[in-house]
């Protein structure tokens, strides 16, 4: 469903992604690992057409999205939900208004219907009590859960994208969030929504993903958890060991 062909992205003279090739199916659970500044977030933004590559092609369901206009990209984006690092909640809006953002934008729903939909999503993520609170009043873990609720309210995603969702959370909150992420993509492998999580925390990746990639400026590793643990690549070995120890 997602295919990167020789994708190049550079910020000024710094080449972040260099001839990156990558394929992902619709129901896969993928973790993209890598250090800071390696282009993990850029990969997610490329999938959504939020940035265009300097070279190469990106196909979503066979359609080259690098040539699509912002208007046509809207249809592509409907296939995904995304939770950005730190949640990216609208800080001037309450939890309810954040989650109801799309419903208010597109639907002609009654206030009662909106409240009911928001409550049901928040209940699913165990944060119903926060409905009238402002984002700044919530803990980091709660903010991420509100962001997940908001992303689920916008569409029924084929693939859910997570950008370092556990950054800044304590281990208990991080584990809780990972179990929620796991649950949202649970079900038979041919039916469940897929997920792509980018993170530098191998522990979190191991909870939610089945396929692991290590990103340098291209995919330096691609395999399952056993292959990851057994890797002989010194950089990846160091990276993985260090994070397991941490």
């Amino acid at each position: 469903m997602i295919e990167f062909k020789d994708v190049v992205v550079a910020y000024g003279k710094h080449v972040v992604l260099n001839r990156l090739n990558f394929k992902a199916g619709a129901h896969e659970k993928i973790a993209i690992l890598g250090g800071s500044g390696r282009g993990k977030t850029t990969m997610l933004r490329l999938i959504l057409g939020l940035v265009r590559p300097d070279d190469g092609k990106i196909f979503i369901d066979g359609e080259d999205i690098t040539v699509l206009s912002e208007v046509h990209l809207r249809d592509i984006r409907q296939k995904f939900s995304i939770v950005f690092q730190e949640g990216a909640l609208f800080d001037s809006l309450s939890v309810k208004e954040n989650v109801a953002y799309c419903a208010r934008e597109y639907g002609n729903y009654s206030e009662q219907a909106i409240e009911s939909q928001v409550r049901s999503l928040l209940k699913r993520l165990d944060i119903e009590d926060t409905i009238y609170q402002m984002p700044e009043e919530l803990s980091g873990g709660m903010q991420r859960r509100v962001a997940i609720a908001r992303s689920l309210a916008s569409c029924i995603p084929h693939i859910m994208l997570y950008d370092e969702p556990t950054t800044g959370l304590d281990p208990i909150a991080a584990d809780h969030l990972c179990s929620i992420i796991n649950e949202l993509s649970s079900g038979p492998p041919s039916e469940r929504p897929g997920l792509i999580i980018v993170t530098h925390r191998v522990r979190d990746a191991a909870i939610v993903a089945e396929r692991f990639m290590y990103l340098t400026d291209r995919i330096a590793f691609d395999g399952g958890i056993d292959e990851l643990k057994a890797t002989k690549d010194p950089e990846l070995r160091h990276f993985v060991n260090e994070l397991f120890c941490g």
């Binding site: 809207r74 609208f90 934008e105 597109y106």
Partner: protein, 247 residues
């Protein structure tokens, strides 16, 4: 060059998309409230002291050569055609423009703009167009009020410090309210409001790189707005003079 092209595209597309449905009336009202009533006190203060300073310098110079009866004329002409629109636009760029930039830059850096785009909402329509509309409605209103306050400030100095005739001052101000002066003073704030909002929104939406990026975006927005105001003031002044003086 590419940034200039993007800025131009934003300036052209925002008014066009604003005419299409859905209409964001609430956002427009919010921006009008922020740009207008929120800037009211600073506009009054700036305008009052500009009028007083202008009257002070003019009266002092004209009194020394025996022409102090023209104070009202010079203050009125300067305030309505030039100093009022420019000074109030500069204050507007500093307060409203920098606020727009920092808000949008913060949203960009924290990926809130990305979220809006992922939801399929047009950022230009939802965030940029209401700011442009708010500015082109409120800046002319603030300018009219500011011009009036500046003229009153000038009156106080002329009458109470230089003991000039109050009725003479007002009669000369009335003489200055001609079609040419009115149009010149009224057209400029529309253009300034538009350019301040476009530059401020563009700088905010193209920000990157955390706190430093936010600082740079805000600084660039204010600096480019100030330069644009002064350049556009000259160009419009020249064009309007050609129109009225050749008619």
């Amino acid at each position: 060059m590419a940034r200039l092209q993007d800025l131009y595209m934003l300036g052209v597309t925002a008014p066009v998309v604003a005419l299409k449905k859905p209409y964001y009336f609430r956002e427009i009202l919010e921006q009008m409230d922020y740009a207008g009533p929120g800037s009211f006190s600073i506009t009054l203060l700036v305008a009052l002291f500009i009028g007083m300073a202008l009257s002070l310098q003019t009266s002092a110079e004209l009194t020394s050569i025996g022409f102090n009866m023209y104070t009202g004329k010079i203050v009125g002409l300067s305030v309505i055609r030039e100093i009022g629109p420019v000074a109030i636009a500069l204050g507007f760029a500093g307060r409203v423009g920098s606020g727009m930039t920092s808000e949008l830059a913060s949203m960009t850096i924290e990926h809130q703009i990305d979220v809006i785009r992922v939801f399929g909402v047009s950022v230009t329509k939802k965030l940029v167009a209401p700011r442009i509309i708010g500015s082109i409605i409120m800046l002319p209103l603030l300018t009219v009020i500011g011009d009036f306050v500046a003229i009153i400030g000038g009156y106080f100095i002329a009458v109470f410090t230089f003991h000039q005739s109050g009725p003479l001052y007002w009669s000369q101000i009335k003489e200055m309210i001609t079609l040419e002066n009115f149009v010149t003073g009224a057209v400029k704030p529309f253009a300034f409001g538009y350019i301040i909002a476009v530059i401020s929104c563009y700088m905010g939406l193209s920000a990157h790189g955390g706190a430093k990026g936010l600082r740079l975006a805000t600084t660039h927005a204010v600096v480019f707005s100030i330069v644009a105001i002064i350049v556009i003031d000259f160009i419009l002044g020249r064009v309007l003079l050609l129109i009225f003086r050749s008619a």
